[in-house]
Amino acid sequence: MRAAGLGVLTSIEQMFYHCGTPPAATAAPPSLLDGLTGRAMPAPPYAELHAHTSFSFLDGASSPADLVARAVELGLSGLAATDRQGLYGVVRFATAAEEAGLHPVIGVEVELADPLVPDPDGLVIPGRRPARRGRPSPTGGGGVRRPLAGLPARPLPERARLPGHRAATKEDHRGIGLPQRGPHLVLLARNAAGYRSLCRLLSRANLAGTKAAPRLTQALLADHVEGLVALSGCRESELARRLRAGDRAGAHAVAREYARRFGGPGGDVAGAGFVIELAYHLLPDDDWLVAESVRLAAELGLPVVVTNDVHYARPEDRELHDVLTAIRHGRSLETLADLRTPSGEHHLKSAAELAALPPGDPATSNRQTAHAWAEGLANAGSLAAACTVDLGFERYRFPGFTVPGGETPFSYLVELCHGGIRRRYHPVTPAVVRQLAHELDVIERTGLAEFFLICWDLMRFAKERRIPAQGRGSAADSIVAYVLGITRVDPIRHNLLFERFINEGRTTYPDVDIDFSSARREEVIQYVYERYGAEHTGMVCNLVTYRARSAVREVGAALGFPRPLVDRVAKALETYDPVMVRRDLEADGGFVEFFRRPGEARDGDVPAVRPGARPAVRPGGASDDEGGPGDSPASVAWLAPGVAGLPARPRAGSVAGLSPWERWLELCARIDGFPRHLSIHTGGMLVTAAPLIDIAPLERATMPGRVVVQFDKRDVETLKLIKLDLLGLGMLAAMDETLALVEHDCATCVDLDRLPEEIPEVFAMLQAADTVGVFQVESRAQMQTLPKSRPSCLDDLVVEVAIIRPGPIQGNAVHPYLRRRQGLEPVTYLHPSLEPILHDSMGVILYQEQVMRIAIEVAGFSPGDSDGFRRAMGTWRSSAEMEKLHARFVDGCVRVAGMPRVDAEELYRGVAGFASFGFAKSHAAAFARTAYESAFLKLFYPAQFLVGLVNAQPMGFYPVEVLVNDAKRHGVAVLPVDVNASFHRTTTEWVGRPGWALAGTAGDDGRHDDDPGEPLPGDSGIDARPRPIRSPACVVPASAARDRWSAEGAVGWGVRLGLHLVKGIGEEHAAHLDAERARGPYTSLPDVVERTRLPEEVLERLIRAGALDSLGWPRRELLWQLREVARPARGAPRGGGRVAGRPLDLRLPATPAPDLPPLTELERLGDSYAILSLDARRQVVGLFRPALERVGAVTNAALAERRPGPVRVGGLVVTRQHPMTAKGTVFLALEDETGMVNVTLWPDTWARLRGVVRRNALLVVDGSLQRESSVVNVVAHEIQPLVEVARAAGGPARPDGVRPMGHAGMRRLA
């Protein structure tokens, strides 16, 4: 005997573990005590058969990979992933297990909608609170059941059905604990048939229910039992619920019925269909429940298994699990008591740990229980070993492409290629024939003919329907894809390498991405459904994981931080990565108090916080978004360092000992990568030979009628199934609309396929970096390099597209190329054998194809090996593996090319350094062609191109305001939104040719820019056409070029902004508004109200945006009248009836407005920016120009002529970038009425001026002008709010609607 008083901790764990000392959680060979004799016996392998991964969506706190790694550490023989209601994580789980050498078992934990045997007393599915009296439940419940005391009210669906809201598609389970929901059952797939049953069962349940709540009934389950093993489930199973409620007879009936349904007791556990699950989580009634379950199993002759209903890998992960539970229920941890898992024991345990629990101890439990516990441990391993599912679905990948009689897919492909080659090549050269024969040979041997036919068929359909489409990615390396019309890039002309796309040694599936016009992609998707059948086709899901902001918001709310503080922290973040939250906030000066160490906290700043208490939130709910933490008592309270009374021995990895602030940051980092919910992938379609329902579970997407598979892009690739990436490309939609408008406006049909590749004016524009709106080369980084690289042919543009990417910038590949391009350094090659390979890129390695060619031609690799080499260089491999490749490469260079070893080593270093950021030339070539075509349209048809871009939003790098202002600087008249002139979409409108266009070649030098030209139409809404800005960065084609490449009247077209730019007017209004517009002009405000049927707040926006100016009333009077005549958006009588007594209903004129002051220009501009985020008449900085001139600021256009040195500029921030590659440097694009300028903030400047930049849209920058080639940059030294600087110089006040950039460069609209 010994006393265990204060301070004696050695026996803490022993209380629950009967083997003397707590078993170590390691892979030490487990040794179990025999429950009957107490003799030590060798432990059989144990496998955990009930485990939730993070793919249980907020009910699992460890990723599949973490669980697998922990299971290996603990020496488990197998592990089952039994996520809730889905197989979302099984591919990742099976892959991780395979890599770790662990036996995976695939299963699911289902929640059943009804009890197996009658449940008149509501023991299994408790009743919930019915709908309020007099409001029958729309779900048909009828409100019969009485509410049970203490149970939470279930949210009523009709609450969400406010006017204008869409019908509720999700069932809200927040606040409803597991005991109030359906009973659980665990299903494991014993074999392929079992996996099929799981997929079918889940799919049918999903399709029968709503997006968030599958409806899995007993009847459905009974139809899908083939190949499945059912475990009775956790304490929320029907069996356990009945036992706990004292209904032994019911429990018996349940067990008997499941045993009958799933295949009876069987000889041993490996053959059993239904198994009783024993779990012990140190809860008060666990001893009893285990004993009762054992007794029941013995009475019915059913086998038992021990599981631990695992929800996280390690004990300390319980904390994150609690946080996830709080997030799931939308509550804080403090208010979660009834919903949290009461026990912290749901981590993975070793066989020894489980064996040592009380049920296994003959001294504390009865002999029958102890014996069953030991048997259950052994059974778990045996049952896991009996469950084997192969996820190799490769043989099901082709859906079967129908070919004409007598043809095989390959022979048909050959025939199509021979037809296509004659269309694509004139003449057909021997090189072309050789390449085609080579590719067809490889395609035949790899059995991929059907794959090409499927792609060809899609392109054929798109062409028939005139849907713009083009293949991209490595498919463009293939001449077969080119002659079939899948891609538009000639691989012979661009010297591309087919082996990059397909080679015989390749283990992954070739990837074909096809871009379609974003406006018409849906037609193609519907075609695929029709062509291959809904049974064989599905959209791949996209797994939405936590990003920095969502992590901060949800974890912060769960930890109980006051909302204003959570908002402030979330808004301060620049990063997307939850792991980087700490670094980001440390960089933000506003949070310095929070990072103060406990001892450093200033006295008096930190009020005493009662541990665990919620600090009072400042009354009034004002946001403390602006300003430091000191301004909010609620925020300051959370500065408290740690909390007293922490565990004496906090677990390693526990966040319990951290201060609330540190805990918040730590949990944000831990939640990184956790799946939050599913959405539809942007374009991935899965097409399979076997019915899809046998391969992956299907579920409803939010989009009505759309079904997605539970696997994402990565999973589908792992399974080697066919995935077609049907992507929507906004630029294709924009160009398609541009061409249609050109045809309509100018009676000119532009065939982009036949557009000459070397139009000098287009390259002159590209060299001048006048590329706002041009595909791929419009970013600020591209604009910085274009004047240096000076592309003069399509191949140069291919380089440009490939080089300005994070990888080459990080790998220092950009500067050598640019220097060589500018003639600043000679073009040299390490060895003559490299010259033919690197000639295109002036000796610099730029493309993945070049790496492969070097491996093949210089180092003597086979084509298949060269692809493996390329991929090995680009991803992490073990050092031994890399060393092997290194030696082979160097030896090859010495042997094959006769290269000195030292050069071979240098070449290897160059190749290895490049490979991490490689880019396929084929991909760049496909994009470069589109870039060239869009540049052509921008130059010669700027009005039509602007309309295309505006209507295809969201797309591209810049917001609409930048596109509009850029077009105006090129002389395009942009006309304001007007209900009597605008259609729903933005359109072109004839405004007459400007004076400079009528002056012919005499107008090219700018002397005729002020000539009025043809008179503006009276209803244009503008006073004069914009004058083109003549600066090196703004290219207006000369009249000779226009005569040659565009239609005569092209410059006479302006752009009328559409009503769609006004918030609240969507696609659903388009047909009606356009029809009303065609009926005739609106004559008065009541007329507008009556005919448009728009709600009051939208009409108010129209008035404030100036769209009703053409009615002839001042805006303030219109707003006055609106209150009387408009339909209220909310509170309107149902059925669309009118509110009686309004002047409109009584056909009375509205009350005349009193004398109201007219709108000032500042107010007008502010309103325009607030509603449309742009103004057709003027750029906002123009308003401040006189004041800016007084303080010595110059225009952006003038910078081109200015010498390097100190400079002051003022402008509106249109983009703000923090590239990861720039190591903390921030780039702003500052726009004024004459153009844009790049402003660079070095990290220390950014740290100092971050607050000013983030909080102000309009800035004055004092810095130094730098010039390199013709690229102009301002390096900021000091930044001030433009409005304050201008006000001090007698300028106007701040226009209210102009708002600062939000996160990710988005400007918030009113």
């Binding site: 005997m1 209380m15 003397g20 008060p284 666990d286 001893d287 541990p611 966040v655």
Partner: protein
């Protein structure tokens, strides 16, 4: 009748070689006990953590609820059943 002890007075526990609870000392009395059932409470890790192992024990004169505070290793009596 049950007495809930508001202050949860500290008690001394005696364990055997296997770490099993066999007796309790309180107010100068030693009571040999047998454990009827046990459970663990692990709560409020984000505030003032509660980490306790509860034991419902029966002795010759007592039916009591005691717990081991896993934060500081002390034993306490929470409830006495008369």
């Amino acid at each position: 009748m049950t007495r809930l002890l508001r202050e949860h007075p500290a008690v001394e526990a005696e364990l055997d070689e296997s770490g099993r609870l066999v007796a309790i000392r309180w107010a100068g009395r030693r009571e040999p006990v047998e454990v009827c059932t046990r459970w663990r409470v692990d709560e409020a890790w984000w505030g003032r953590p509660i980490a306790r192992d509860y034991f419902k024990v029966v002795g010759s004169q007592w039916l009591a609820l005691v717990y081991l505070d896993r934060v500081d290793g002390s034993w306490h009596l929470e409830r006495l059943y008369d």
